[in-house]
């Protein structure tokens, strides 16, 4: 793991709000984290917790009526939160790349794969079509696509889902970015394909020193892949620390709930733990801690929104009543397996 002084990306107090007719939706509210070269950060949360919007905010791809309204996004020290459209365009795909969730939807169905790859290179570098084509072929081979030369001339619908995601990953790698934001890239795939892709991505990060933000709702994926983990709930980071620390000794009740709701072999026959209720609407969050309505440890202080505290060393937790190491008999061994 490379260790340089300046993180590849540092997000400080990011706020992305959507100004809808029904009111302001605070999709991302005060989110901070950083990721260094070669490091993988896992961004975990349920649907609607703001993790995808965080990803889009980094690339400046938040659609109307959403806007980054506060905080800093530092790419190698440069604040790009309010960078010009042209500066962002040059960064996208070149320095910061993104892989999307559904491989069936990310490739344009009416354009050939080579068109979609070559344009990604030519958008950033003044190279000939032949050279760009050659690089595209090399990238496809790198992600393990056989007969790359032929495959380049195909249309996306001629590929399987796993193959398409490999193409998308190849496109993300084309310009050797420093940072890849991967938004649940394996969720839509079969388990075996998921394993292959995880393995290859991990290998590539180590080899090239690319930093990666891996967005997912699947704790087991993060356990095997990430160095650090950020747990998000209702647009906020509720817990942040290294993967082993957080999964072994979760301090936030929500993290604990997530870990406990992973089905496990060791507890067969026992009722599966679950977090009661559903994610609150971001339009009218309860006053105070947004998790209080579902939290087993709720207390009088929860009427006030908790600030970030450090109940354990090297850990950010947003809770008035954090779980202490002894209390939580979190069966982490299965998760990490």
């Amino acid at each position: 793991m490379a260790n340089s002084d300046v993180p590849t990306l540092e997000v400080r107090n990011l706020q992305t709000h959507f100004f809808t007719r029904a009111g302001v939706v605070k999709a991302v509210d005060d989110v901070s984290f950083s990721v260094r070269p070669g490091e993988v950060l896992g961004l975990v949360g349920e649907s609607g917790s703001g993790k995808t919007v965080t990803g889009f905010s980094i690339l400046g791809l938040v659609d109307e009526p959403g806007r980054v309204v506060g905080g800093e996004i530092l790419y190698k020290g440069e604040n790009i939160a309010n960078a010009s459209d042209e500066r962002m365009r040059r960064l996208r795909g070149n320095n910061i790349a993104m892989i999307f969730q559904d491989p069936m939807m990310t490739l344009n169905p009416v354009l050939r794969v080579d068109t979609q790859m070559i344009e990604a290179i030519q958008a950033h570098e003044n190279v000939s079509r032949n050279e760009a084509w050659e690089r595209s072929r090399a990238a496809l081979e790198q992600v393990g696509i056989p007969a790359a030369e032929e495959r380049l001339k195909s249309y996306p619908h001629q590929f399987s889902g796993g193959m398409r995601q490999r193409v998308a990953i190849a496109i993300a790698l084309l310009n050797k970015p420093d940072l890849i934001v991967a938004d649940e890239p394996t969720t839509a795939l079969d388990v075996t394909i998921q394993g292959q892709i995880l393995y290859e991505v991990q290998k590539l990060c180590e080899e090239t020193g690319t930093a990666m933000i891996w967005i997912t709702h699947d704790l087991s994926v993060v356990a095997g892949l990430a160095d650090e983990i950020c747990v998000m709930y209702a647009g906020r980071v509720v817990e942040h620390g290294t993967v082993n620390d957080v999964l072994d000794n979760p301090a936030h009740p929500y993290t604990l709930g997530l870990i406990n709701s992973v089905p496990s072999r060791n507890r067969r026959g026992e009722p599966l733990a679950q977090i009661p209720g559903m994610t609150p609407s971001l339009l009218n969050l309860p006053k105070g801690c947004p998790f209080k309505t579902r939290c087993p440890r709720v207390g009088p202080d929860c009427e006030i929104e908790p600030a970030i505290t450090h109940p354990v060393t090297a850990r950010d937790v947003r809770c008035h009543y954090p779980v202490t190491a002894g209390e939580a008999a979190a069966p982490t061994s299965e998760v990490t397996a």
Binding site: R89, A97, F100, L107, V110, Q116, Y155
Partner: protein
Amino acid sequence: MTVFIIRRLMQAALVVLIMSFLVFSGVFLVGDPTEILVADDADQAERAAVIESLGLDKPFHIQYLRFLTKAAEGDLGESFVFNEPALQLILDRLPATMELAIAALLISIVFGIPLGVIAGLKPDAVYSKFIMTGSILGFSLPTFWVGIMLILLFSVQLGWLPSTGRGDEIHYVFGFPTSLLTLDGWSHVLLPAVNLALFKLSAVTRLARAGTREVVHQDYVKFARAKGLTDQRVIFVHVLKNILIPVVTVLGLEFGGLVAFSVVTETIFAWPGIGKLLIDSIGLLDRPVIVAYLMIIVLLFVFLNLMVDICYSLLDPRVRLQDIKA
């Protein structure tokens, strides 16, 4: 691809046959041309002579079979009024109608697609709402009334453009007469073409807008932006190529609609095309011309449908694949 085209051609032939039967029986069963063709003071013998010379005394199926065999030879009967082959009458006037319809089609594409894409990219902007309300106005305006208003404004009040006819300077290009080679010709075609285009312009605008709105929210557009492509490339390559598929389909089919609707425009602007011929023929119950017009229109529609299918498969690789499998 060849199998695909042959299969479509056979389907097309069947449709033409069915339509020929419907058209012929429709025209045959109702309306009596002798009322018009025979003078009121004619005696029984003169009447019978006219009926016999036109073959109107034969039973229906004989008349239909005769019509079919002759139609196969390109003979759709002779106009009662002009005493000329009906097909020839239609073919003489077809280029004028085509010229008008193509001009109208171009107007709707050239203005409609950009307007629709603009309105679709920013659906909440004031100008987008303006475009959309305008398009409602566009398909609400009755074509014939707009035509009259255009004449009233540009011909009568301002005196800028001529209100009738096609102009005198007809030139031949590859054997097709056209008036589009001279300024005078253009001045004649402009008002009728705008008039005819208005309805389709709204349709194309709305279609392009709906397509754009759907496509811009697709992941592949966001992914294209995530690759760092310029907005121009995203819009002109990724968005446009996807919305062209429905637009081309509809436009192909709508071209037939333009030819049909030219009936109204040609009547107002005294444009010497097949639409005006049809209205005149209906007024005079000139049966062979009506039948010939309908057969030509049916052929045109069938041909257009075929062309649309082929264009569709060229534009959308997914369709192409299905055909290879099929």
